[in-house]
C-alpha cells in the first residue's frame, strides 16, 4: 500500500502532475495530518485539495452566448465619453471653484492650531448646538498660517477657544 502522506513533499514541491497529483490532493483533503501540514506550508494546495470534489460547471452554449452579447460601442464612443467627462469635471470645478476663490482666503485649522488672538465674542454672536454642547461663533480677520490676511470662523465652547476652527 502506498503511503500517500510520505508523498506530500512531492506535492508541495510541485513535482507531481496529472492523476497522481489529483490522488494526492484527494488524500490530503481527507487526511488530518496532511491538511494540517498544508495549512502551514502550502495553503493554496489545501484549497486545491478541498476543491477537487467540486463538480465542474455546466459549459456555456458558445454560439447562443455569443449571439446574445450586447452590441459593441464604436471606439470613438469611448474617447467621446472620456472627453465629455473631462469637460463636465472642468465645468463643475469652474462653477464651484470660482466663488470660493473670489472670496478672501478662509483658514481651516485643527483645534490645536487655533490662533491665540481670537477676540472676545460679540454679545450677539450666534450660537450653534451640537448634541448637548453649545458653541459660540466668532468671525474675524487675522493673519492666516501663510501670513496673509485671512477670514477666520471659530466655534468655541465655553471652556476655551479650542474646539473647532472651520469656514
Amino acid at each position: 500500500m502506498v503511503d500517500l502522506c510520505a508523498r506530500l513533499d512531492a506535492l508541495i514541491a510541485g513535482d507531481t502532475t496529472g492523476a497522481a497529483r489529483e490522488a494526492l490532493l484527494a488524500h490530503a483533503a481527507a487526511c488530518a495530518a496532511c491538511s494540517e501540514r498544508l495549512t502551514v506550508e502550502a495553503p493554496e494546495l489545501l484549497l486545491a485539495a478541498l476543491s477537487v470534489s467540486i463538480p465542474d460547471a455546466q459549459p456555456l452554449e458558445a454560439v447562443a452566448f455569443s449571439r446574445a452579447l450586447p452590441a459593441r460601442r464604436p471606439p470613438w464612443f469611448m474617447s467621446a465619453a472620456a472627453a465629455a467627462a473631462v469637460l463636465i469635471a472642468a465645468l463643475l470645478a469652474w462653477r464651484v471653484g470660482t466663488p470660493e476663490r473670489a472670496r478672501a482666503p478662509v483658514e481651516i485649522a485643527a483645534s490645536a492650531a487655533a490662533p491665540a488672538f481670537v477676540p472676545e465674542p460679540e454679545p450677539d454672536a450666534p450660537v450653534v448646538e451640537s448634541g448637548a454642547e453649545q458653541f459660540v461663533v466668532r468671525e474675524f480677520t487675522a493673519p492666516g498660517f501663510d501670513g496673509r490676511e485671512a477670514q477666520w470662523v471659530v466655534l468655541s465652547s465655553e471652556a476655551a477657544v479650542s474646539d473647532e476652527v472651520r469656514s
Binding site: T39, V40, E44, A48, S51, Q58, P59, L60, A62, F65
Partner: protein
C-alpha cells in the same frame, strides 16, 4: 477541434482577430476553445459551479467588449486567466464572512468545518496581490508548473517561484490570524 497546442493557439489567434472585428461566430470559437480551462478555474476559485459559470460569463462579456483594444499579437489565455482570477477575488471579497446556513446542493453533505476552511482559504487567496493571486490560482487550482505560468505571464520561472513562496506565506498568516474570514 484542436489537435495540437500550436494548432489550437493558431485557431484562437485567428478567431480573436475576427471577433475583434465583430464576428460573433468567431467569438463562439473562442468560447468553445477556452471554456474548459476557464470554467474549471472559475469554479475552483469561486468554490461552486453556479458562481463559476457566472464568472466565466462575466469574463467572456468583458473580453467581447475589450477585444478591439487588446493587443492580439499576444496570446489570449493569460488575459482570460487574469480576468477570471481577479473577478473571482472581487466576488469573494464581497461575500459575507460567514457561510450561509443553506449550502449549495453540491456541498450539502460536506463537513461544516471543511466548508469554513475552504471559505477562509478563498478569502486568503482574494487578499493577495494580483500577481500572487494569479500564480497561486494557476499553480494550485489549475495544476500548472512554474515554467508553464512563466510562459503564460511573460515572467521568469524564478519570479513565479518567488511569488508562489510569498503568496504561501501571506495565505498561511491570514489563516493563522485571529478569527478573520
Amino acid at each position: 477541434m484542436a489537435d495540437t497546442p500550436e494548432l489550437r493557439a493558431a485557431q484562437l489567434a485567428q478567431a480573436a482577430r475576427a471577433a475583434a472585428r465583430g464576428d460573433r461566430e468567431a467569438f463562439a470559437v473562442i468560447v468553445t476553445l477556452t471554456q474548459p480551462a476557464i470554467l474549471r478555474l472559475a469554479t475552483r476559485v469561486s468554490g461552486n459551479p453556479e458562481e463559476g459559470r457566472e464568472l466565466a460569463q462575466e469574463v467572456y462579456l468583458a473580453l467581447w467588449k475589450i477585444l478591439p483594444r487588446l493587443d492580439l499579437e499576444r496570446p489570449l489565455m493569460p488575459y482570460l486567466y487574469r480576468a477570471t482570477v481577479n473577478k473571482a477575488a472581487r466576488l469573494i471579497r464581497r461575500r459575507p464572512p460567514v457561510i450561509a446556513m443553506e449550502n449549495p446542493p453540491e456541498q450539502a453533505g460536506a463537513d461544516p468545518r471543511t466548508l469554513m476552511l475552504g471559505h477562509q482559504l478563498r478569502r486568503a487567496l482574494a487578499k493577495l496581490s494580483r500577481k500572487e493571486r494569479l500564480v497561486m490560482a494557476l499553480t494550485a487550482l489549475d495544476g500548472k508548473s512554474p515554467s508553464e505560468i512563466a510562459e503564460l505571464t511573460g515572467n521568469s520561472p524564478a519570479t513565479i517561484r518567488v511569488l508562489l513562496l510569498r503568496g504561501r506565506k501571506k495565505m498561511a498568516e491570514f489563516i493563522k490570524g485571529p478569527s478573520r474570514g
